[in-house]
Amino acid sequence: MRRCEPSPDEEDPRTDALEEGTCENSPKEDAVAAPPILILHSPGTNRDAEAALAVKLAGGDPSIVSMNDLRGGAVSMSGFAALLLPGGFSYGDALGAGTRLALELRTWLYEELAGAVRSGRPVLGICNGFQALLKSGLLGEPRAPRRVTLTDNANGRFECRWVNLRVEPGCRSGWLSAIEGTLIRCPVAHGEGRVAVTDPEVARTLEDSGLVAFRYLSGDSHAGGERVAGGQYPANPNGSVADIAGLCDPTGTAVGLMPHPEDHVADWQRPGGPPGGQGLALFEAFVDAAR
């Protein structure tokens, strides 16, 4: 049963075996109550269960809420301390990745979302969620023309592979600052993940304004020895300008990225290589910011 109200005790066969896990990290102990976190599910969303698991392991209290229940008023966004838009193919992405979801966000939820961002409640968009956030305008200056987009991978194909990421030290996001410089290894799985800009100047402006939140690093990067991918495939898997893997909005509250840190929250998920680099760090920062 999908949990549509914030009632975390309702049984969900995909997450309730979590309680006494052995192959997982234990959920983060905290005296403070776990903040309720909304995970938005629209038709075609598919990494919702993993995102919920990551939030839970990071100490949050996730609820997967359907777009229709939000739209119809059965569930209200106001009861949640943070919002996560997970990956997938919302509405089939038939009009371009995230385009239709962006339209739904603008049409039905824009004020609530913009209000959440203004009040500092963190918003995280992953993959399709990032595409929708960006295309809805929620990551840009209000009412300014959009000069950044996510479009077809440079090789024209869907691409699934593990990449190295860095949480960019110069990023202005307050809640990412707790983990700035952190290296994360996790997979990408997308066909339209290339960050493209209207002109090269825009990429510099993003950098100078502290809006670049994540970058792709070279394959042999390690803590203390990282190099950016330099546009080289496959370290930069999609040809994104300036190796940008994720961005934040001008307030730093809303963050989006293409790769899937929720698919690396336990050591056994990693395909070899040195330990560490879990995506869990990102979810811990996210949940902490929601407290």
Binding site: M1, R2, C4, E11, D12, P13, R14, T15, A17, E19, E20, T22, C23, P43, G44, T45, N46, R47, E50, L53, N68, G88, F89, Y91, G92, A94, L95, T99, R100, L103, E104, R106, T107, K135, P145, R146, R147, T149, T151, D152, A154, N155, G156, R157, F158, E159, C160, A189, A196, V197, G219, H260, E262, D263, V265, A266, W268, Q269, P271, G272
Partner: protein
């Protein structure tokens, strides 16, 4: 946004649709088209401009159109927009659009987006425009259009602007026709069967004639079609249920005769003999079910979608995945992973060798791969395991095996529809698509098939199916239904007919939601439109189910109820459509008596030519069947659901081959147990000895499972038989021999078959494919931390080889490559479990750091693959079964595994393996693969291959421009 907006326009008042053309800068598809044209021999195409074209019909103002463009159709950063007729261009332009009635999700989503913007209702239609830049004559434009840009089966194309085709209503339906059967002679019965594409034989037509003779009337069109679908080979498995006599002629001329009272019954009997405690359901339902842990079961099913994929590769494979995923939903499981095994003709086939009416293998491959990726990715399922084979036998008839794995709480699958339960359909709308799919796949193909088969081939709509997955899981957990099945072959007629077999059912088709008007009742009843499930729901639970459907944007329809009358009664409003007794529908088909004949080929060892062994190993590594499948598999999301432990790629650069998949299902993280999947397939052996093919395929699947850490004591098997026309004794003889091999294999390996499927009539113009058995194996890894890969891990480690070589090369890749013509197949493994249990114990205790199965290309290819994955050198000495170095390196004797292990474990491994294996050398820092040969030819210079050369050969990097295998 750069636009060319010719002032005020309206799409409404004049009824003239507005045309909107969107072009992305740097569209990566353009380069692929140029490259594809080069493969067609069209070298004049230097560039291509790709645009999306949308037609909108409705009462739209210029502002409305502007909003749609801005908010939905065009991205302000990368897109250019033309509203109105296309700009004139000096280059030839081709526009391609789906044929009317073919699923067009883009148009549908555009209509919905317009509604979300609050615009007046619009109808949308889409096309693609290709401006071909370069030096092309008319013939070249035509070749590129027909062979690259459009597939005539589902698309139409036009030079320059294509007129929009909105789904146009056909003539009004609700006509029920009576088909005159009484008094028809044999020849007339058979011509009726042919004309209506019923694929029924004379005995079956007679049984129907007699039944309606007793009822004193003629059948309706819908009744005849219902019987034809239910009795089709595809649905009824008439060959696997027939009484079969096999004449087996030995190489010495001796004849042995065997009788089978049903091949399916024989497979089932062995499963019942073995009857392991973890078996939940075998052969009874849409998928086989085994226990996973204390709380959950696993459901596994593999299907084929060969004929549709031959005609429309994308749509065929797309709906192949969709169909097998619904099979798993049909046992109440949440789908959690997909598999695919693909058999194509050679990718470099010369055009002159391509039969007329057949798509080139490269086009088939690219379309199939895109179709599988599209559907699996959009369902959020990792496509984790499979194989790709290339063989001339599949040029006109590719094989597309699609598998799905599901997870369900133990005991949560109800199979007990009750009288009074409502018949509820959920999911996609019904159209004319897919009519006659079951009977179509029960006949051979020829040159004209593509033209006749327009309605059979479909494009999938994965997002509708994704909604169904959510609804079914939630409905299952709330126990809202008493029975569930998918709408596959035969559509509603099969789903309702099977679910109501012991009850009877009454259906009104008038309420079925249709994609477009004008369907006749029999078409609604028989349509195999995709993405539909049928459930038996108690009346009191219907509204709860409706709420779940609303939440997930899934359409739901109440079609009628189960009655208890024992009759299948279908109406369209007041018009009677079908009235058949269930026992005749399900029990009336005459049982077939069939004869198969198999003659063992005369034993003839081939002569092994002299070949430079190092060159030969590189040729094997770069053979498309062996070489890396990265260009294919990376387009599949194999990580979604976060449970992929054993991956398709392994090693330091993630480009070594994985032997099997290991998955940790979400929701079971409370313990460390995981699921393993692997496959075995070898049509080359099947040509010589189908019995041996079965044992070799089982062995390959099992050793792949063992290599990744699965327990060989808990493995379940699936069979998928793809063969030619079984009414021809030689085809049936080979099929029965393969079944006999499966029976022997299940006993010898103590592994039950839990599900299977046969796809017969894989013939083109009378030529059959090589009989091809796919074995899919489902195992358990007791602790996911035991999962290892095939890539070498560390200099100084030992390399061990389990199993013995064979002097026989029959069915091996090297035999094929060098044209040796050996007809002797290496003997099957006599006592397989002993060795695999020994290896499993070594893996379980942590003594093994990498393991790899020895298959296509023999021990040399396997050693080289391990070296490539680890980017480390090796120095090994392999046993020689005779005097030939080539045979020692490349023979494909079954039962062999390579193990890498730390030196400190040497004694322990030697003790555990005893005579089952031997240490053959070790891992080196030097970047060379050195293979020496022991035995009679010892003392020769080692075969030496530079590691870099092996990497290039295997990965294809630096070999072909797009890195494709």
């Amino acid at each position: 946004m750069p636009t060319n907006h010719p002032g005020k326009r309206s799409g409404g008042d004049s009824g003239v649709p507005v045309r909107i053309q969107v072009t992305s800068s740097d569209d990566p598809r353009a380069g692929r088209i140029v490259e594809g044209a080069r493969h067609l021999g069209v070298s004049g195409l230097v560039a291509c401009r790709v645009s999306r074209v949308h037609y909108l019909q409705g009462d739209l103002s210029a502002d409305d159109i502007d909003r749609l463009c801005r908010e939905v159709l065009a991205d302000p950063v990368v897109d250019q927009l033309v509203v109105g007729p296309p700009e004139t261009t000096p280059h030839p332009a081709v526009e391609v659009a789906p044929r009317p009635g073919v699923t067009d999700t883009e148009a549908r989503e555009l209509e919905r987006a317009a509604a979300a913007l609050g615009l007046p209702p619009v109808r949308a239609s889409t096309a693609r425009r290709y401006e071909l830049i370069g030096d092309l004559d008319g013939a070249a434009v035509s070749a590129v259009s027909r062979r690259l840009l459009a597939n005539d089966t589902v698309e139409q194309f036009s030079l320059d602007s294509i007129p929009p085709s909105f789904d146009t209503p056909a003539t009004a339906g609700a006509r029920v026709e009576s088909v005159g059967l009484s008094g028809l002679a044999e020849a007339d019965l058979m011509s009726l069967s042919r004309e209506r594409l019923l694929s029924l034989d004379l005995a079956e037509m007679r049984a129907i004639q007699e039944h309606f003779g007793r009822e004193g009337r003629d059948p309706t069109d819908a009744e005849l079609e219902t019987l034809a679908q239910t009795w089709s080979e595809h649905c009824m498995h008439k060959t696997f249920r027939a009484r079969v006599r096999l004449e087996h002629i030995g190489a010495d001329g001796s004849v042995t005769v065997a009788h089978y009272d049903g091949l399916l019954a024989a497979l089932r009997t062995v499963t019942e003999e073995l009857d392991p405690p973890w078996l939940r359901s075998a052969f009874d339902d849409n998928a086989g079910i085994v226990a996973f842990d204390d709380d959950f079961d696993l459901a596994f099913k593999v299907e084929t979608h060969n004929h549709p994929s031959a005609l429309e590769p994308f749509g065929g494979a797309n709906t192949g995945i969709g169909g097998v995923v619904r099979d798993v939903m049909g046992v109440s499981a949440r789908p959690i992973a997909c598999t695919d095994v693909l058999c194509f003709g050679p990718p470099d086939l010369a055009d002159r060798d391509l039969p007329p009416g057949v798509l080139h293998p490269r086009r088939v491959r690219d379309g199939v791969v895109a179709g599988i990726g599209d559907y699996g990715n959009k369902l959020g399922l990792p496509t984790v395991n499979g194989a790709v084979l290339y063989d001339e036998g599949y040029i006109a008839n590719p094989l597309v095996y699609c598998g799905a794995l599901g997870l369900l709480p133990s005991g949560s699958h109800p199979t007990d529809p009750g009288v009074g339960d409502r018949i509820i359909a959920i999911g996609g709308r019904t159209g004319r698509d897919g009519i006659h799919g079951a009977t179509f796949s029960s006949a051979g193909m020829d040159e004209a098939t593509a033209e006749q088969a327009g309605t059979v081939v479909q494009i999938g709509d994965p997002i509708t199916e994704k909604g169904c997955i959510e609804v079914v899981e939630e409905a299952r957990d709330l126990r809202l239904y008493h029975a569930i099945t998918d709408c596959g072959a035969g559509g509603f007629s099969s789903a309702v007919g099977e679910m109501g077999e012991h009850l009877g059912a009454e259906v009104d088709l008038a309420g079925a939601p249709l994609k477009y008007e004008g369907l006749e009742p029999w078409e609604i009843w028989l349509s195999e439109a995709q993405e539909r499930m049928v459930m038996a729901v108690p009346p009191g639970d219907v509204e709860t189910l409706r709420r779940l459907c609303d939440r997930h944007d899934v359409e739901m329809t109440d079609l009628g109820s189960f009655t208890g009358t024992g009759r299948l009664v279908v109406r369209h409003g007041e018009t009677p459509v079908v009235d058949l007794p269930m026992d005749f529908l399900h029990g009336g088909v005459p049982r077939r008596e069939m004869v198969g004949r198999w003659a063992d080929p005369a034993p003839a060892p081939g002569r092994v030519p002299d070949a430079d062994p190092a060159r030969l190993v590189l040729d094997l590594l770069s053979h498309p069947t062996v070489a890396s499948k990265e260009a294919i598999v990376r387009t599949y999301d194999h990580e979604v659901r976060g449970g992929t432990v054993g991956r398709p790629f392994v090693g330091v650069r993630a480009d070594g081959p994985g032997d099997g998949a290991v998955l940790k299902p979400l929701g079971t993280w409370g313990h460390d147990m995981a699921v393993a999947l692997a496959v075995g397939i070898n049509p080359r052996i099947g040509r010589l000895d189908p019995w041996a093919m079965a044992l070799h395929a089982i062995d390959e699947a099992v050793r792949n499972l063992v290599a990744v850490g699965a327990d060989p004591g808990r493995v379940a098997l699936l069979d998928n038989f793809c063969w030619g026309d079984p009414t021809k004794p030689d085809r049936l003889g080979s099929l029965v021999r393969a079944v006999e091999g499966c029976l022997e294999g299940a006993r010898r390996y103590r592994m039950p078959f839990i599900s299977g499927k046969d796809s017969l009539f894989n013939e083109f113009a009378g030529e059959a494919i090589p009989g091809t058995l796919l074995i899919s194996a489902l195992g358990l890894v007791p602790d996911l931390h035991w999962t290892i890969g095939s890539a070498l891990t560390r200099t100084g480690h030992d390399l061990w080889l389990v199993g013995e070589p064979s002097e026989r090369l029959g069915g091996s890749l090297v035999d094929d490559l060098l044209g040796i013509g050996d007809r002797l197949v290496p003997p099957a493994v006599e006592d397989p479990l002993r060795r695999y249990l020994a290896v499993h114990r070594l893996i379980a205790e942590g003594s093994v750091t990498a393991a790899h199965d020895v298959s296509d290309g023999g021990v040399a290819a396997a050693v080289a693959e391990m070296a490539v994955g680890g980017r480390l050198g090796v120095d090994v000495t392999v046993p020689a079964p005779g005097e030939s170095v080539v045979v020692a390196l490349t023979n494909e004797a079954p039962g062999r595994l390579l193990l890498e292990s730390p030196r400190a474990r040497r004694d322990r491994i030697a003790t555990r393996l005893g005579s089952l294996g031997r240490r053959i050398g070790g891992v080196t820092a030097a970047p060379y693969i050195r293979i020496r040969v022991a035995g009679p030819v010892a003392g020769l210079e080692p075969v030496t291959i530079e590691l870099d050369a092996a990497v290039r050969a295997f990965t294809g990097r630096g070999r072909s421009p797009d890195g494709r295998p």
